[in-house]
Amino acid sequence: MSSRTSGGRSNGTLPQTKICQFKLVLLGDMAVGKSSLVLRFVKGQFDEFQETTIGAAFLAQSVCLDDTTVKFEIWDTAGQERYHSLAPMYYRGAQAAIVVFDITKPETFERAKAWVKELQRQASPNIVIALAGNKADLAEKRLVEYEEAQTYAEDTGLLFMETSAKTAMNVNELFLAIAKKMPKTDTQNPTHAARHRGVNLQDPDAHSTRACCGGN
């Protein structure tokens, strides 16, 4: 629970640390290793920043970055094409996305490109997108060249790394790179702020009463 401690409250374990919380969505074809990648990241972190979740489709993990604790809420999506149309529900409001493909399957790279396009068109304007060429440990089966993906990422303005959930190669690096790219405004306490706003303003009282009674 420590990672849920907010900066605005005095009982935090890291009171001096700014806490930023981000929604990160995982996109990519089925079986490219989305879940493995995230799980490798989560397992590789200190337990104290880990939050228990009921399953691997949603994971929460914090990483420390200088004076900031960046908390990722990681939303996995089903990669099957039939569920594609449900994806906007998931990437809605996401501040970061990792689009994963399998370097041994070119079609997953093409699908990844499509996801990137869709995100750039339809997701939040400032979304940070990372492209992950997963299964880099299977170099002998490689069918997507590093340079090709790298060039594409550069052209499209993406973070790009080849990763291996199996060997943990570049896994933490990828998430740290994303964390560094995130805007570090304290997003932790919108509700807290809202509460105090509600306290300070005189109007909400009158407004709510009026609104309620006005309907009668």
Binding site: M1, R4, G8, R9, S10, L26, M30, K34, S35, S36, V38, I54, G55, A56, A57, F58, A60, E73, W75, D76, T77, A78, G79, Q80, E81, R82, Y83, S85, L86, P88, M89, R92, E107, E110, A112, K113, A114, W115, K117, E118, R121, Q122, A123, N189, P190, T191, H192, R195, G198, V199, P204, D205, H207, S208, T209, A211, C212, C213, G215, N216
Partner: protein, 792 residues
Amino acid sequence: MAVHSQVNGTTAIPWRSSRRRLSLLEQLKGCQEAWCPGAPWDREGAHAAICGAPAGSFLVVRDSVTSQPSVLCVSAGEENGAIVDYTIKSTGKAFQLSESRLSFSDLAQLVFFYSLTRDVLAVCLSIPRWIYGVTDKNKDRLSQLEPKTWLCSSADQCTDEMTQREPETVMCSIQLTSTNGALCIINPLYLHEHGDDWLTQRVSMAPAAKQPTNYRRERRLSTTRTWAGSGLTKRAVSLDQEPSATLMESSGLTRAKSADSPHCPQIPLTADTPGGVVLRRPSQDSAISLPHRGSTGSLPPSTPTTPRNSLGAALDLQRQGSPVPQSPHRVSWIEDGVWLPPPRPSSLLQPPSLELDSLSISSIEEEQESQMPSPSPHHPSAHRLADKVKNRLSAVSQALGGLVCQKKRLTNRVQELSDRKGGLFAEAVKGFVEMTLKRGADPDGVTGSEFLQEVRALLTSLRETLLDFPEIQMLLDSITDLSDAEIDSLVELSLHKVALKPVSVHIYSCIRTSRTNDGTFKRLQSNLSLLEKNGMEELGGSAGVGIPDSASLERIQQRWTTMHEAYSPNKKVQILLKVCKSIYHSMTANASSGQIFGADDFLPCLTWVLLRSDVLTLQLDTDYMMELLDPTQLQGEGGYYLTTLYAALYYISSFQPRLAARQLSVEAQHSLNQWHRRRTLHCNQSRRSMHRRTIRRQTCRERGPQNSETETENKGESGRETDPDESQQQTESSSSEALQPLREEMEREQEGEHQSETAHQEEVMRNEQADRQTLCRAEEEDKRGLEWIKEE
């Protein structure tokens, strides 16, 4: 075997917070010479000293040869002056009573423990009340105390001895005395002006013999509270650089028992006074928060200018557990009620923490609220000053309630506010209920989604109204061990009870009407019959994923029912999470170890479960949750699985059966894909891209990923080699008339989905084309179904 920390003298009791230190233990250690005197004292001497002392008074006698503590002499009560001896065994570093299996790493811990629970003793050990008055300032005097002082529990000389040098502090006290449910509040300022002799003079005359027969039971309870309070005291002191020592001195509070009542001259105890009163247990965390409130200026104006007084008062209240019947009742926090027998710890490792959950403190506020204004002819001063103390008292009561059951406290408080005739919040709630009932019933009214959003907006303003009440603010501020999100959830829950509960049935009927009218129910039902035979493979799950067996499925159905019956969307989400958890459990039951199941498998599995559930009701519940949850609660795990539930239902309702018209599904799918861009898309764009698609089809090799219309536009220009399968279809895609062949093609591809990923992708691409064609028609669907995911 109990575990003890030698470092700070605390026991390793898993009680709320590791930060807490038990000051009573330290005090006990500090004056160990007083209760465990050395050489001249022997058994006879101890007996002589104890004889006539109140029950529980004790001394530990050392062995004359080894100087090891050997006998615990305890007064069993004054009726017969009996004294019971218990042999103390010391084996190496551990002390234990020979009759008991519990051992302690030092003598003070042993004494401390037996002051909380009697275990093998006839009575709990009694710790003199004055020990709580010991502060850092006079701590060093502890070691000089003698057994006679130790056994002096009447507080007269001892208290004086300890506190005389700080007489001013005696003034800060509050007395709350319950008789016939009446509440008596004494303003500390009044005490300051007039002294408190009138308050205490008759106390000392109270005959100890009047102790009720259930004395032991009460003692056990009260000492338990002492224990809790002592933790609070120490913690508060450590947080507060200037310990509220002065306030501690005035801790005249005693354990609450009916015999105490006559000690208060203000309100004579009547014959029908309930036999027992319950001491409310304070919360250490909430006590800490009091200074915070003071500093943020959120304290009510009439609150004394030194917030620490509140803290001190709260601290005082905790010490009332000291089992000294004769003590002056300067502060008393008592309430009519039933004695709750404290759990009897079977070992030191499971201490009174159990009691935390067994105690309800929720009626504190009610009592205070309802009885505060009641005139008390005998005590005009109390009445006159009631208002001044009220707010401070409120703070104290919140401090006392604290962690025990914040949710219930908050809920009760909100309920009270909503019941307060003519009150701001009560009126607002009333208006909300009336308006909601009226609004949704209007046949020409808004769509279901708009209606629900209005309800949500009204709920939010109700919450704002609620949060403007200082008492609610303080209540929330006193909760320090929850995250903001959890606190917000608490507020929402309490709000739901007063506002949403009365209208939930009506809201459901509105959603039902809306979903019936928009055809969702029809689609769900017809698609259900098409999909229900589908296994995990057909739904896209990977091999090896387990599915719930019939027993699990039965449990899930029960949970769905429970979820449906809950009126609070937050509560529903909690139940949803339980369902999801059991689905995960089923998924992994037969899986090879280490296999990870992410969304690729969870979504199909959830869909599989839904196909065997009452999807119509689930659709209602999902709408209810989606629209009425506080938007901030849509984040996190609950938000994720709610989204997934919504998505799975959407998948079912928008599924395209083989020979059925594709239109509805296209609209539905389109609405999902386009919710972001709804306002900027136009039909003519769609048509343009239809033509583009033709070009792309001929040239684009990368058709697979082209599943968004924008993709289509962009990629159309890039030349790629043509897939033979696609070439066949070029003609059909050039106009909207080509829909029929498209359908057939689609069906074919659906069948071959697993064999041909490319064909599958192509299907999706065409779906997108069709989507654009039907954009205009989709607009309405769009609005209806997807307000919740609308931007902003």
